[in-house]
């Protein structure tokens, strides 16, 4: 039931996405554009070449980021970790910028440097958190480490961009997190990685449920914790990077969706995973609708909208947590 309801909400968001924009297009014209495409009809062209492609990018990126966040939060038993708060987004971004500057790479070829950046950032975050070991809450230390690493990589990105401002004008939107009209090209290259990651997440989900009880407990119950922890971490990073390569560093989806899924579906089984997948897609689709509608005909970066909306939700989350801790 809840799984189905989530899908219906996503479908509604998709319809909204196709209808709204600089010009509103009626549902019937959308249907016609899909069933009987007429290249001379302006509305049809907008629906197929601008909105459906954008929609596909939003759905894909939101879904993989939602699932990546869930995996990270479960294996680290930490509700504050996510691709953005661990610095994975920032690491991938700055390695992409470096690859563009030094090697002139573009498109799908950016996946490899992005992956290297994501893995490197994760390793740095773990090392930073280890330096802080013994002081304060280790889970907070991990998030602190992630914040420091994120800042570090953001500065690297800014530095490289400053070396050649003109060369990076095309990437400026991507740097904030943006869905462009041509992103569907890199989407088709990234989709296999994303889908492989999602299948991996489903296969590991039961063992990840056990890891959420702590590594020692999971080992006692028969889980090869090193293998599963490492595997789930790698999957989360691949998922994140497959989205970052397409849309840039978009935060908060991976942070907030797991909490929503937990509230709706609890901790165990495939339903929370499914809700993160569908919910992440819905949230990013709606963010893209807002990005196109808020200042129409100007289009905002979807990363900006996510930052504003997600920041507000995150603040509310932290405040309720803090209040809960006081009681």
């Amino acid at each position: 039931m809840r799984a189905l309801a989530a899908v219906l909400v996503l479908l509604a968001a998709c319809l909204l996405h196709l209808r709204l924009g600089a010009a509103e297009i009626p549902a019937r014209a959308i249907l016609q554009a899909i069933t009987a495409f007429d290249p001379t009809n302006y509305a049809h062209v907008v629906v197929v070449f601008q909105r459906i492609t954008r929609l596909a990018v939003a759905v894909f990126s939101g879904a993989v980021l939602g699932v990546a966040g869930l995996l990270l939060q479960k294996i680290m038993q930490n509700g504050l970790v996510s691709p953005s708060t661990l610095g994975i987004n920032a690491g991938a971004t700055s390695f992409v910028v470096l690859a563009v500057y030094f090697f002139g790479l573009g498109g799908a070829a950016l996946f490899l440097p992005a992956l290297a950046g994501g893995l490197g950032a994760m390793a740095l975050t773990f090392m930073t958190a280890r330096l802080l070991a013994g002081q304060g809450d280790p889970r907070m230390n991990l998030v602190l480490g992630g914040a420091m690493v994120g800042t570090l990589f953001s500065s690297v990105t800014a530095f490289v961009v400053a070396l050649d401002p003109d060369g990076f004008t095309n990437l400026l939107g991507w740097l904030i997190g943006d869905i462009g009209n041509f992103d569907y090209k890199s989407l088709s290259a990234m989709a296999p990685f994303g889908i492989a990651g999602l299948i991996g997440a489903v296969l590991l989900s039961r063992m990840v449920d056990l890891l959420a009880m702590g590594q020692e407990q999971a080992a006692v119950l028969g889980v090869d914790t090193r293998l599963v922890h490492g595997g789930a971490l790698l999957i989360a990073i691949v998922l994140t990077v497959s989205a970052v390569t397409v849309v840039g560093p978009i935060g908060f989806v991976g942070l907030v969706m797991p909490h929503v899924a937990r509230l709706v579906a609890g901790e165990v089984g495939l339903l929370p995973l499914w809700l993160c997948l569908i919910g992440g897609a819905t949230v990013l689709t709606l963010a893209d609708v807002l990005a196109r509608v808020l200042m129409a005909p100007q289009v905002l970066n979807v990363g900006t909208v996510m930052g504003l909306a997600g920041g507000a939700v995150f603040l509310a989350l932290v405040l309720t947590r803090a209040r809960g801790a006081q009681i």
Binding site: E216, V220, L221
Partner: protein, 253 residues
């Protein structure tokens, strides 16, 4: 385990420890804090690898066994674990069945039967649909014990299973542990109460600084002399009602 040594960061915790547990026997380990009791259980469960010596289960070297194979033989009730508060009691206890399930298969009728049985034994059937975060400490501990029982292993290790529990539930857990031993399991429990150890265990091992200081039936092991030597406390031992009660008189000078 034979002549097992083990340490953390160069600090020896275990020195040539030899310990045997037999099927059908309830073995209690007592000893002061930091003497290596919990570490001994973790070595048996393969969570630590011995620096030297061998840990064997049914004659097989634990170091050569994978996690899943160990988990089919050994269940360990750890001192504490962070159970996600949104999990239901049924979901928690079902975690004990993980190692009996196929990679993709769902819970079988046998799994459900084992879960239901464990819940009956620990008297938590009524809590089945409650969330773990709503439980009292005692309820949670009984549910974790039920999870350990649902794992259905021949070797049951209990690390301070009665700590922080109301007296009634302490005895519930000890009685369950003894019943498991009577049904053929090898039960090893770290306890801190001499009286409970003397009442329930078939054999008591007293650990001191990573070694076994004394081992045997409670009446031979839990003597005034051993307690003074190991715990540094002068006591008067009283034998009554089948148990041994140590009445403290003060620190050894």
């Amino acid at each position: 385990m034979d002549n097992v040594s083990f340490g953390f960061d160069g600090r020896a915790v275990m020195r040539d420890l030899t310990l045997r547990a037999k099927p059908g026997e309830f073995l209690a380990i007592v000893g002061p804090n930091g003497c290596g009791k919990s570490t001994a259980l973790k070595l048996i469960a393969g969570l630590h690898r011995p620096a030297s010596g061998v840990v064997r289960i049914d004659g097989q070297d634990v170091a050569a066994m994978g996690r899943a194979r160990i988990a089919r033989h050994v269940a360990l009730l750890t001192q504490a674990s962070a159970v996600p508060p949104n999990m239901t009691v049924h979901e928690l206890i079902a975690m004990g069945r993980f190692v009996h399930q196929g990679f993709l298969s769902r819970r079988s009728a046998r799994d459900e039967e084992a879960i239901a049985h464990a819940m009956r034994v620990m008297d938590v059937t009524g809590l089945s649909h409650r969330r773990v975060g709503e439980l009292s400490g005692g309820q949670l501990q009984r549910c974790r014990m039920a999870m350990t029982l649902a794992q259905d292993c021949g070797i049951l290790l209990l690390d301070e299973p009665t700590t922080y529990l109301d007296l009634r539930y302490q005895f519930d857990i000890l009685e369950t542990a003894r019943a498991q031993a009577r049904a053929g399991a090898a039960v090893v429990a770290v306890l801190h109460d001499f009286t409970q150890a003397s009442l329930y265990a078939d054999r008591v091992a007293v650990m001191h600084e990573g070694r076994i200081a004394a081992s045997g039936p409670a009446s031979e092991v839990l003597t005034e002399d051993v307690i003074a030597r190991v715990f540094g406390v002068r006591t008067r031992a009283v034998h009554a009602h089948g148990g041994i009660f140590h009445i403290p008189e003060g620190a050894v000078r």
